[in-house]
């Protein structure tokens, strides 16, 4: 069965040194997936918006954010071991099971 992450796309940013990636998923982000992601670190969930925004920060590795109902995550990878951190997140997401 294919993993949750369908594609990882590099995103341009106006700041030097910031590595930003778009993780395109094979499913739409719902509350269950948001709860799963919240285990990664400090979690914020802004449900006042019609399309709620969430953000979870792992102080060492990355910041993951997205909008409920979208099929992608926007990820800021921190400077220390960026490739390993990006891969850690992909593995974490691919372990997610629906239903």
């Amino acid at each position: 069965m294919p993993g949750l992450v369908r594609e990882i796309i590099d995103v341009e940013n106006c700041m030097d040194g910031a590595m930003i990636k778009k993780y395109v998923l094979s499913i739409v982000i719902d509350e269950k997936l948001i709860n799963y992601l919240s285990a990664l670190g400090t979690f914020e969930f802004h449900q006042d918006f019609a399309r709620p925004f969430f953000k979870v920060q792992d102080a060492e590795r990355f910041e993951v954010k997205g909008i409920a109902g979208n099929d992608y995550l926007r990820v800021v990878i921190y400077k220390t071991n960026p490739e390993a951190s990006a891969e850690d997140l992909r593995l974490f997401l691919d372990k997610y099971t629906e239903g």
Partner: protein, 316 residues
């Protein structure tokens, strides 16, 4: 003369002035600018500084991110060329060109105005204020297409051309024609862009446009005052200014600007710019290394669109 954008016009005026100055003097020209400038001014200036062709001083900003005029006037008293934005692309604040222009005229300083943000949105009588040259772009509030801009100047321009090439006339000569604008306009023009800008200017002169011409500026004035009254927001620049270019930049407590932009787009279809807006020093001076959220209004912005923005901002 026509250029492909304001950046090219600014480069032509700044570098051309410096080259001409070196031809006539045995010292480097002293240039003055401000920390409110866009990279289209900062980068040419710092490149010339790196090349050791100029001395450069930048006027600081106030705690409100407006130009510190006292400091700027002191610097203008002892310089050869000043390059100053007519309206900040970050704050929308309009520079007091009556003050700056008179100071430059009194001191014999060549004053170049960057009118990228003001042309088409705010009327500034540059010639009356003694401004020597004005760089503009066609694709912003003048409503022209991208890829056309220019440099307007009074009298004999004191700068050398920075490019040579074909002009379509005087082709027997291997030297650049000395007539203006041919001296500065080498190569094929963006004729389609120039025609588009001409059409936009004709449209702007008509009755249909005069009914909407102030809409963008009025929305910006209203939003800046509204956000300044809400302690959750910090507005860059002077939110109480009686006039402004139609852009407002701000930050909100507890939010980073990129996330705000993301939420505004996803929840309201509102496109805004987040980050440094190519103006790093104004953000550095404001203590905002990650930048701000900038909302820009146009003459076509509608009241429901403005209300949608205000409603969403109320949720941050």
């Amino acid at each position: 003369m026509f250029c492909k954008n304001a950046t090219e016009a600014l480069n032509l005026a700044i570098r051309g002035f410096v080259l001409k100055f070196h031809e006539k003097h045995d010292r480097k020209p002293r240039l003055v600018s401000t920390m409110a400038e866009h990279n289209s001014v900062l980068r040419p200036l710092f490149h010339l500084l790196k090349e050791n062709l100029i001395d450069l001083k930048l006027a600081p900003l106030t705690t409100q991110s407006t130009i510190a005029y006292d400091a700027l006037l002191l610097l203008l008293a002892n310089c050869d060329m000043a390059v100053v934005t007519a309206a900040s692309n970050v704050t929308g604040d309009i520079t007091d060109f009556e003050l700056v222009g008179n100071a430059c005229r009194d001191a014999g300083v060549f004053l170049l105005a960057d009118a990228s943000q003001s042309a088409g949105s705010v009327e500034i009588p540059f010639a009356a204020y003694g401004v020597s040259a004005v760089a503009f772009t066609g694709h912003k509030y003048l409503l022209g297409p991208a890829g056309v801009g220019g440099l307007v100047f009074c009298g004999e321009p004191p700068f050398l051309p920075i490019m040579q090439g074909g002009t379509g006339v005087h082709s027997q000569s291997i030297h650049q024609p000395q007539q203006i604008p041919l001296l500065y306009e080498a190569g094929t023009h963006n004729s389609i862009g120039i025609a588009g800008l001409n059409a936009a200017l004709k449209y702007r002169a008509g009755a249909e446009f005069s009914a909407i011409r102030d809409k963008g500026v009025n929305f910006a004035l209203k939003l800046a005052r509204r956000l300044a009254a809400d302690r959750k927001f910090k507005v860059l620049g002077n939110p109480q200014a009686p006039q402004r270019a139609p852009a407002v930049s701000f930050v909100a407590t507890g939010w980073n600007c990129e996330d705000m932009g993301h939420v505004l787009w996803e929840n309201g279809g509102i496109v805004c710019r987040t980050g440094l807006h190519c103006a790093p020093l104004i953000h550095k001076a404001a203590g905002l290394p990650e930048g701000s959220v900038r909302v820009s209004f146009s003459v076509y912005t509608t009241e429901p669109e403005y209300e949608r923005l205000v409603e969403l901002l109320g949720k941050f």
